[in-house]
């Protein structure tokens, strides 16, 4: 061993040093000697391990040339970042192209079933309000959640899990680390951010891998700026509509995928900017050191990925959405069917929120949907549709095309879509994420701070965008 054991050799450890005058055990040797002993102990263990490994390894194997080439490519100076964007775009594109048909089938099936259920209620001679709450409120919202959100989830989640299983996320962190260092945050934040793509609550929990409390807080606060699996479908759906992607048109669907990638990039840029600002103001300090392991690529097991992403992600996210959607749907129906001065409560609320919402490029209904969607971001679009449909405009919802028609009939332009997507990306975290922040930070201070910070950023960015577009359009 190449240790300089000078200190250890010189210092003859006198055992009396361990006992103080009062008979207490004082085990501290001079710190430099402890360091040397420590190094010696660790070194000896490693040496033993090496000795044993040399004895039992019949063939030590070789570095996989394929793996090396893959890593060279994925982290290459010129191709590293473009490949990262391309991979993301590819996943979004498959989701966009693949989700439309099943969406249509699910929608027509579920709304056909709604008709049958209504007939059943009619046959029962159930009171109108009961039929209203249960069918037009709860069932219809849940049907929207399932038909609009389920197909993109069922396609996106397995693809994302595949990327995770292959071991791509550490490579992503390796590529992005430099930017995080400059932002004054921990290298592993790139990793926790990547986890946020799956679910922000999981992303917040994953910040446990960061030891320094300062850097952990930065990672927690900024995790929400990357869209989670609950918000990706919203972005993907709106991007498709906003691009008027006539789904068979490859060019338009590619463009829609590019728009989602642009939003992801924007999310990363804002993550870095906010981390930078926090580490220079509220959470001052220098980045602590870190090491990132790049584990070997693992051969993904397609069957297991399908099963796991379906059970752990799709079913989890969807069931959460359905659970939240049910009471929200009931509430919307009640609000839509009660009121004063000739309009219902939804309209009153929407009218009340409208002037402010217009300032940031939304309308009262959209803002209301975001507020009601606090428990789960997945239900924002379904709630929005329920809101629009309840405001008198009746339309038989049948497919994604009708979604587009409903939005356009309610005055949506591409600016509205852009503003809604932007707000979805930047606004307050969902209830589950806020709870996780409370758990991880042990108090209400940081979840509240995150709530207000993200919302303030969302409002300011949206406001600036709208004013900017007003000048130039």
């Amino acid at each position: 061993m190449g240790l300089t054991r000078s200190g250890l050799n010189k210092e003859n450890i006198n055992m009396d040093n361990y006992i103080t005058k009062r008979g207490k055990l004082d085990y501290f040797l001079p710190p430099d000697i402890q360091e040397e002993i420590r190094a010696q102990i660790v070194g000896d263990i490693y040496q033993e391990a090496e000795k044993i490994a040399n004895k039992v390894l019949i063939s030590p194997g070789e570095e996989s040339a394929l793996e090396n080439r893959l890593d060279d490519l994925l982290t290459s100076r010129w191709l590293g970042f473009p490949l990262m964007l391309f991979l993301l775009a590819f996943i979004f594109w498959i989701t966009i192209v693949g989700a439309n048909l099943p969406s249509e089938i699910l929608a027509s099936g579920l709304f056909w079933l709604e008709g049958k259920i209504s007939l059943f209620f009619y046959w029962l001679q159930a009171p109108g309000w009961l039929h209203g709450i249960l069918v037009h409120g709860i069932y219809r919202t849940m049907a929207w959640v399932i038909s609009v959100m389920f197909p993109p989830m069922a396609i996106f989640f397995p693809l994302f899990t595949l990327l995770e299983d292959l071991g791509y996320l550490p490579r992503l962190a390796f590529n992005l680390d430099n930017l995080f260092k400059r932002a004054g945050s921990h290298g592993k934040q790139a990793l926790t951010m990547s986890m946020g793509f799956g679910c922000n609550a999981a992303g917040v929990i994953s910040t446990r891998i960061i030891d320094s409390p300062r850097e952990k807080l930065i990672a927690i606060i900024t995790n929400n700026f990357v869209p989670c699996n609950g918000r990706f479908p919203t972005l993907i759906i709106l991007a498709s509509i906003f691009m008027h992607a006539s789904f068979n048109n490859t060019y338009n669907s590619l463009l829609a995928a590019a728009v989602v990638v642009a939003f992801v990039l924007l999310g990363i840029i804002i993550t870095l900017a906010v981390s930078w600002a926090l580490s220079r103001t509220l959470l001052k300090g220098i980045p602590s050191t870190f090491t990132l392991e790049l584990p070997p690529y693992r051969k993904p097991q397609i069957g297991r990925i399908l099963l796991r992403s379906f059970l752990d992600r799709t079913l989890f996210v969807l069931s959460r959405a359905v659970l939240v959607a049910a009471p929200a749907g009931a509430m919307i129906w009640i609000l839509a069917n009660t009121g004063f001065n000739g309009s219902n409560f939804i309209q009153h609320l929407a009218v009340f929120l409208d002037p402010f919402a217009r300032l940031i490029g939304l309308d009262g209904f959209i803002l209301l949907a975001f507020i009601l969607g606090l428990p789960a971001n997945e239900i924002v679009i379904p709630i929005l549709l329920m809101g629009y449909l309840s405001s008198g405009l009746m339309m038989e919802p049948e497919s994604l095309d009708s979604l587009q028609r409903i939005l356009i009939a309610n005055g949506w332009t591409w600016v509205t879509a852009l503003a809604t997507m932007l707000f979805s990306l930047l606004h307050f975290p969902c209830g589950t994420t806020l709870l996780s922040i409370k758990k991880e930070t042990g108090g209400l201070k940081w979840p509240l701070f995150t709530f207000f910070l993200t919302t303030a950023i969302a409002i300011s960015v949206n406001f600036l965008l709208v004013q900017f577009l007003k000048i130039f359009l």
Partner: protein, 75 residues
Amino acid sequence: MLLSDLKIQEKAEIKAIRVSGRQGRRLLDLGFIPGTIIKAIRKSPLGDPVAYRIKGTVLALRKEETDLIEIRRIE
């Protein structure tokens, strides 16, 4: 010579770790022990961090840390 001076695909033997305390202990536990062979594998697209192969694992280190590790290049 410092680890940060090592070029990609070059090998070196670790001579000493110039940092003590918790940071030094952590490096030690990861296998950065004097006498160990380390190889620079690849740079990240922006040049820092750099990935090294040490004791069968690929670890990425920022320059702040590789500046603390003394090495001797092996031809």
